[in-house]
Symmetry: C2
Subunit: 340 residues, 2 copies
DNA sequence: ATGAAAGCGCTAACAA
DNA sequence: TTGTTAGCGCTTTCAT
C-alpha cells in the first residue's frame, strides 16, 4: 500500500559507488566529470528511474523556481488561451516554464492561487485580475523583486506593470464605423459589472464616438450582460423597443455571440454589428461581422517581455503597455442600413 | 540590486521571540498554541509579509505536492479549457490545485513538461497526449504510485487510466442522422495525421454507419486537415468534384468551422453538416448545425475522480472510461436535401 | 504550551 | 576529477 520511498540522489550515488555530489555534478553539468563516471551515472539514473527533486534543489540554491505563474479568470474563454500562448513562447526561450491556473471568476480563489504560486517561488507572476479581487497583499513580494504583471486589466490596490488592449480607441473606432454607415441609434452591449475596467474603457470610447458625431448618449441603449444568454435576451428586448437600435457595438466576444443569437432569434438580419474581440465565425455569418480585433498573443508576449526585463534587473517604475486593436471591416456596418 | 533575502520562518520566530517550531505550529495548526502566541505570530507574519516556502515544507514532509499537473496540446482550443474546468472543480474539493501547461503540439515539449511536473512532485498527472509523444518513461513514476490519467486519447507505450469520448458511437450516430435524411454521398472531414486516435475512431464510426446502410465507402470523400483554413479549402475543392458530397461529417470543431467557411465561400447553403464537438454558433448559422456534442467537463471530472481514487489507494488495473456524446439535431441534416 | 536537535534531498564551499 | 561538510527552510521527534 505505502509506495516505496522515492529514489534519491544518494541512492543513485550508492549504486554507482560515487558520492552524491558527483551525481549532482553529472546531472547539472557544472563541475568536471570523467566520461566514464558520467556514463555509469546516467545508466543508473535510467535504471532506477531517478527523478531529481526540484524542490530540494531550489531550496538549496535559494533562487526562484524556473516557472512563471499565470492566473486567468476563466478557462473557457479562448482569449486567455491565446494570451497564455504568447507568454509561453516568450518565457520558454529563457528556459522558464509557464504554469497556469484558473480562478473561475472567484476572487478568493484568485488569492489562493496567488499564494500557491508565491509559496512555490515562481520567477514571475502574471495575473488577469478577477472582478472583486484585491492585490495589495502582493506588495511585499513585488518589493522583494518578484515581477508582477497584470494583463487585460490593471490590478487593484497595487501599482504594477500592466498590459492592456487599446480598449477606448478600439471602441471609438468601431462605433465611428457604424456612425459613418449612417447609424444614429447604436446600442452598447457590455459586460457586467459596469465597473469592470474593460467595460468602462470601451463604453468611454463608444461615448467619445457619439460625442464626436454630435449624437446623444442614450442610457437606455446601454445593455448589461455577463453571459451569452443574457446578451441574447437583452438584445431581443431592445429590438422590441419603440425606438430600437439599428446597430450594436458588442463590447466583448460573449456579448457578440449573444447579440448574434438575439438578432437571429428576432429574425433580424438588418441590424448592424461591430464586435470588440474577434469571433470564430465573424466571416461566415450573414452579414459578416465587422470586428475590433484584439491581439491576445501580443498581449501575452508584451507581458512576458516586461517580466523578463524585470528579472534582468530593470527597476524603472511600473509601466502600462497598450496593445493596439485593429478594425476589420467585414460587411456588417459597411453599407447604409435600410432604415437610414 | 540583489533582492534582500526572503523572510523565513526563523525570521518570524526571532521577531516574535519564540522558536521556529512554534511559528510552524501556529501556521499549520497542528500542535497546541496559546491564543496569545497565535495572535503575536500572525501579526508578525502580516507585518513581515512572510510567505511560507512550500518547497521546503514538502521536502521535509516527503509526500507529494498538493498540486495536480495537466498537460494539454493547445491552449487555443476551448475544448481543453472545459476539460481543465472539470478537473479543477473536482480536485479543488480535495484541497488540490490544478496547474497546467501547454506543449503546443510538440512531443519534446510535452516530455519536458512531464519532467517538470514530476520533478515538482505533483500528486497526480493528467495528460492529453500529443501526436508523436511516447509515455513509456512514465512507467517508473506510475509504478511508484503516481496516478497517471490520459484524457481524450490513450497514451502511447504505457498502460494507464484514460478517459475518452464515445468517438465511434457518436460518429456513427451523426452519420446515420445524415443517412436518415436521405444523403448518400457524405464526406468525412477529419484531423491529420490519419493515425490520430480520435480521428481513427470517428472514421470507424462513420464507416460503420455507411456499412449499416449499405452505402459504399468512398476514399475520395475522406478529407484531411489540421486547421480551419485547410478544412475550408478541402471542402471547397470537394464541392467542385463531379460527384460532390451532399452532406459532411466534420470530425472536430476546427474541421466544422472550416467546413462552414468552405461551404459559405462556395455559396452553398444546401450542404448538410453534422459536427463532432459542439460549436459556438451552431444554433445561429443557416442552417443551424446538428452536432455530436462531447462533454468536456464530464471528461475532466471523470479523470479527476479516477486520479483521486488512485490516491486513495485504488490499485485495480487501469481502466478506460468512455464519456457518452449526445446528438443535438438542429436543422442541418434534418430535412431531405434538394438533391435527393 | 513550547523548545532543541536532527534530518528531508539537494548543492555551495572547501578540501584532497 | 572527486569527496566532505555544512546548511537551505522547514517539520519531525523527543524533550521540558
Amino acid at each position: 500500500m505505502a509506495s516505496p520511498r522515492r529514489t534519491t540522489l544518494a541512492d543513485v550515488a550508492q549504486e554507482v559507488g560515487v558520492s552524491a555530489k558527483t551525481v549532482s555534478r553529472v546531472l547539472n553539468g557544472d563541475g568536471p566529470t570523467s566520461r566514464e563516471t558520467r556514463e555509469k551515472v546516467m545508466a543508473v539514473v535510467e535504471k532506477l528511474g531517478f527523478q531529481p527533486n526540484l524542490m530540494a534543489r531550489n531550496i538549496r540554491v535559494g533562487g526562484p523556481d524556473s516557472t512563471v505563474g499565470l492566473i486567468i479568470p476563466d478557462m473557457g474563454n479562448p482569449f486567455f488561451g491565446s494570451v497564455a500562448g504568447g507568454i509561453e513562447s516568450a518565457v520558454r526561450e529563457r528556459g522558464l516554464t509557464l504554469l497556469m491556473g484558473s480562478c473561475a471568476d472567484d476572487p478568493a480563489r484568485e488569492r489562493a492561487l496567488i499564494d500557491t504560486f508565491l509559496a512555490r517561488r515562481v520567477s514571475a507572476l502574471m495575473v488577469v485580475p478577477t472582478v472583486g479581487a484585491d492585490h495589495a497583499h502582493l506588495r511585499t513580494a513585488r518589493a522583494n523583486g518578484l515581477p508582477v504583471v497584470f494583463l487585460d486589466r490593471p490590478g487593484t490596490g497595487l501599482t504594477a506593470d500592466s498590459v492592456v488592449s487599446s480598449n477606448r480607441d478600439g471602441a471609438r473606432e468601431g462605433t465611428a464605423h457604424l456612425i459613418a454607415a449612417g447609424h444614429r441609434r447604436i446600442a452598447f452591449v457590455g459586460d457586467r459589472p459596469a465597473t469592470l475596467y474593460t467595460r468602462r474603457e470601451r463604453l468611454a470610447g463608444y461615448r467619445e464616438a457619439l460625442d464626436a458625431a454630435d449624437l446623444p448618449y442614450d442610457r437606455s441603449l446601454v445593455l448589461d450582460c455577463h453571459t451569452e444568454a443574457e446578451a441574447a435576451d437583452a438584445v431581443q428586448r431592445a429590438l422590441r423597443d419603440p425606438q430600437p437600435p439599428t446597430a450594436i457595438l458588442a463590447a466583448n466576444n460573449f456579448a457578440a455571440m449573444g447579440t448574434v443569437l438575439g438578432t437571429t432569434r428576432a429574425g433580424r438580419r438588418d441590424v448592424a454589428l461591430v464586435s470588440f474581440d474577434d469571433l470564430p465565425f465573424a466571416e461566415v455569418l450573414e452579414p459578416a461581422i465587422t470586428t475590433v480585433a484584439q491581439d491576445p498573443t501580443a498581449i501575452g508576449t508584451a507581458a512576458a517581455e516586461i517580466a523578463l526585463a524585470r528579472l534582468d534587473g530593470d527597476r524603472t517604475r511600473a509601466r502600462t503597455v497598450t496593445v493596439p486593436t485593429r478594425l476589420i471591416p467585414r460587411g456588417s456596418g459597411e453599407l447604409p442600413p435600410t432604415t437610414r
